[in-house]
């Protein structure tokens, strides 16, 4: 991209500057540290110049928004067309209370819903299961059956909102319930918009809400791909998530690498199941983290977009642009929030919001300041949403597309993250793919090593966390926190018992036994799961039947 002669001049001048000016100045004013590095501990040079990006080819490496390789963004006009979707993950206690919170958020100008489920729901246990004790309604809403789902979306027209559901192992069951609720509202499934997370591989890697072994989980996922491509065509069938990988302690490059490696595994599974890549690939979406190192994060998103486009085109021979576009949701990093001086978290979230927006995200959840302490209060959630609105309407960064492109540093970082991620993906390919690399613990081990290294850096003050290992104060201020009423569990169990008493149990048993029968065949299970939930079979019952046939996953831990 650069004129060869001019680049030679720059090199000579740079050398001169370094040797004659910098070295002299360093004698008098030494730098703060021996080694400077990004948030992911990649070494950072003093100055970036055209020398660092001398091989950059604008057309090939960056191109134009909405065009291959999509480094600069997936839409032609980006935020000049419309802002990202501001989507706050919320849900707690009972369906009634969550329903109220959703209505509040929609009133406040939020543009999409994001449902958080409690852990028993995420792991396919009913609220009255022994393992659910103490967990009901804690980290999200408890959904035992279609009854709860009807309450959750009561008064919310499902043809008007887009709904994102953080649900993985039992994703097909919750999606079925959503379709059933819509049907009761008179909304046909082809009108439904939204996303299910449905990313089991990162559950094995980092998040832990798995149920079935990989092979059977992949089958359920490809069943959803196939079913939705026909019946729910506007639905994003998977959100391939690096968020939790990063939260578990990975570096930025590892986040990209392991997420895209998971993505490759899903695409391969779908192709193996006989689906056409351009049929399902446009419905794949991604979910990334936003950490504090603003420029590294921006480079990360750009590198991920470019790498995924190449993978889809070169490895899977996708033809449609939409199949090559990496669209992603972002959530600010929960792990960077501190319990100490929690108001500082508002500032962290602001930086992270800027990173996501400058990186071209399609939707964003901003964390609330008190999330290192408990579930957020309504006030905190409002500030978090306002943070997005200030960036959108006041900061000016949305007025042009990909404004950091061409920065020597950002382009250089984009390249190095892509290279590092690619090297990991090759390594994972050699191990037999993401599923194998998870089963033998390789991916988990790499993440743990990064997490441990970071922790040691914080403890040795090589990394500073404001308010935690520096600038500490005696904290006296009482923070107002949200408490989930412990009676929720009792209440939820009562509701469940009533459901079991009132429903047509013969019908339930019949749909469940059909589901069990079909689980042993190769058939797509979605229609049978839909029948079961419509008969008011509970989530635990549906998953129980599948557990019987599929067995359960046992984690690999290498410490």
């Amino acid at each position: 991209m650069y004129d060869k002669k001019k680049l030679e001049d720059v090199k000579a001048a740079f050398k001169n500057w370094e040797e004659n000016k910098v070295n002299k100045s360093l004698g008098k004013f030494p730098e703060r540290k021996e080694r400077f590095s990004t948030g992911s501990d990649t070494e950072v040079d003093r100055l970036y110049t055209p020398i660092n990006v001398e091989d950059l080819d604008y057309e090939r490496d960056l191109g134009y928004p909405g065009e291959y390789p999509f480094t600069r963004g997936v839409q032609q006009t980006m935020y000049r067309g419309r802002f990202w979707t501001m989507r706050q993950y919320a849900g707690f206690a009972t369906a009634e209370e969550s329903n109220n919170r959703y209505k509040y958020l929609l009133d406040q100008g939020q543009t999409g819903l994001s449902v958080a489920f409690d852990l028993p729901t995420q792991i396919g246990y009913d609220s009255d299961h022994a393992l659910s004790e103490g967990e009901v309604g804690k980290v999200g809403v408890a959904i035992d059956s279609l009854k709860d789902m009807e309450v959750l979306f009561d008064g919310i027209p499902l043809d008007k909102v887009s709904t994102s559901m953080t649900i993985n192992a039992p994703a097909s069951v919750l999606l079925a319930m959503y379709i059933a609720v819509a049907e009761k509202q008179g909304v046909s499934s082809d009108k439904l918009r939204g996303t299910i997370q449905n990313d089991i591989l990162k559950e094995y890697i980092a998040r832990g809400t798995y149920i079935f072994p990989p092979e059977q989980s992949m089958r359920l996922i490809t069943n959803i791909f196939e079913y939705c491509s026909k019946e729910v065509p506007q639905w994003n069938t998977i959100s391939i998530s690096g968020y939790h990988i990063r939260e578990a302690g990975s570096t930025a490059a590892q986040e990209v690498a392991f997420t895209l490696a998971d993505g490759i595994a899903y695409v391969e599974a779908a192709i193996k199941a006989g689906l056409d890549v351009d049929e399902f690939a446009p419905r794949l979406s991604f979910f990334f983290n936003a950490h504090n190192d603003l420029l590294e994060e921006v480079a990360k998103y750009r590198a991920a977009r470019r790498l995924w486009a190449k993978i889809m085109k070169e490895r899977f021979h996708a033809k449609k642009d939409k199949s090559m576009q990496l669209k992603f949701h972002t959530q600010t990093a929960g792990s960077t929030l501190t319990a100490q001086q929690p108001d500082n978290n508002i500032i962290r979230v602001t930086v992270q919001t800027l990173a996501a927006v400058l990186g071209g995200t399609q939707s964003l959840h901003t964390n609330s300041r008190d999330e290192a302490l408990a579930l957020p209060t309504e006030d905190s959630v409002r500030i978090a949403l306002r943070t997005q609105q200030v960036v959108a309407y006041e900061s000016g960064v949305t007025e042009t597309i990909d404004p950091l492109a061409g920065s020597y540093y950002v382009e250089s970082l984009t390249n190095s993250i892509e290279e590092e991620a690619m090297a990991y993906i090759e390594k994972i390919d050699n191990l037999g793919g993401a599923t194998k690399a998870i089963e033998n613990g390789y991916i988990q081990k790499e993440i743990q090593n990064s997490a441990y290294k970071y922790q040691m850096q914080v403890e040795s003050l090589d990394s500073i966390v404001v308010g935690v290992n520096k600038f500490k104060i005696e904290e006296t201020e009482k923070k107002e926190l949200l408490k989930v009423d412990p009676h929720v569990e009792i209440l939820q169990r009562k509701k469940l018992q009533k459901l079991r008493d009132d429903r047509d149990n013969d019908k339930v048993n019949e749909t469940l036994s059909v589901l069990k029968e079909k689980a042993e065949t190769e058939e797509n299970l979605m229609p049978y799961i839909l029948d079961a939930v419509k008969s008011y079979a509970t989530l635990g019952e549906v998953c129980g039947v599948l557990r019987e046939v599929f067995g359960e996953y046992e984690q690999t831990v290498i410490l």
């Binding site: 852990l119 028993p120 995420q122 792991i123 246990y125 022994a130 393992l131 659910s132 004790e133 103490g134 967990e135 804690k138 980290v139 559950e203 998040r207 832990g208 809400t209 798995y210 939260e247 578990a248 302690g249 792990s335 929030l337 501190t338 319990a339 100490q340 290192a372 302490l373 408990a374 579930l375 743990q448 997490a451 441990y452 922790q455 914080v458 403890e459 966390v465 935690v468 290992n469 923070k479 926190l481 408490k483 989930v484 412990p486 984690q555 831990v557 410490l559």
Partner: protein, 132 residues
């Protein structure tokens, strides 16, 4: 003390966030302790059974789901029920300040919230260990 301290690091409940538990397990190992790691989704009963069979000095639990008020005291009580009175029970994770007095009263010896250096946990164990 002339023997390695034995610590059970456990994840009670359904919460799958084990970054903290794994970091602490490694830090305790590097401090010369024998760490028995039980993995995810342990019931209080399983934790106590493991603590008994492994004859540990410390039971360290990590939980981020908010079920601590239920699960931590249950482990303490089950240990008492087994007649175990020389084990240090520790809790860590996202635990609101308001809950800490209740947990301490119910017999959890210390609560470590996010941001605690691993060294503090190691020091606490070394100082407060009940068996010599």
């Amino acid at each position: 003390m002339n023997r390695p301290i034995r610590v059970l690091v456990a994840k009670p409940g359904l919460d799958g966030h084990d970054r903290g538990a794994k970091v602490i397990a490694r830090a305790l190992r590097d401090a010369g302790m024998e760490v028995i790691y039980t993995g995810l989704r342990q019931t209080p009963e399983q934790i106590v059974a493991a603590a008994v069979q492994e004859d540990v000095d410390v039971v360290a639990m990590s939980l981020l789901s908010g079920a601590h008020n239920h699960l931590f005291p249950k482990v303490v009580n089950l240990l008492k029920g087994e007649g175990v009175d020389d084990v240090l029970v520790l809790g860590g994770g996202v635990i609101p300040d308001d809950d800490i007095p209740f947990l301490l009263e119910s017999g959890v010896e210390a609560i470590f919230t996010p941001g605690t250096p691993t060294k503090d946990v190691i020091d606490f164990i070394n100082t407060n260990i009940k068996r010599k």
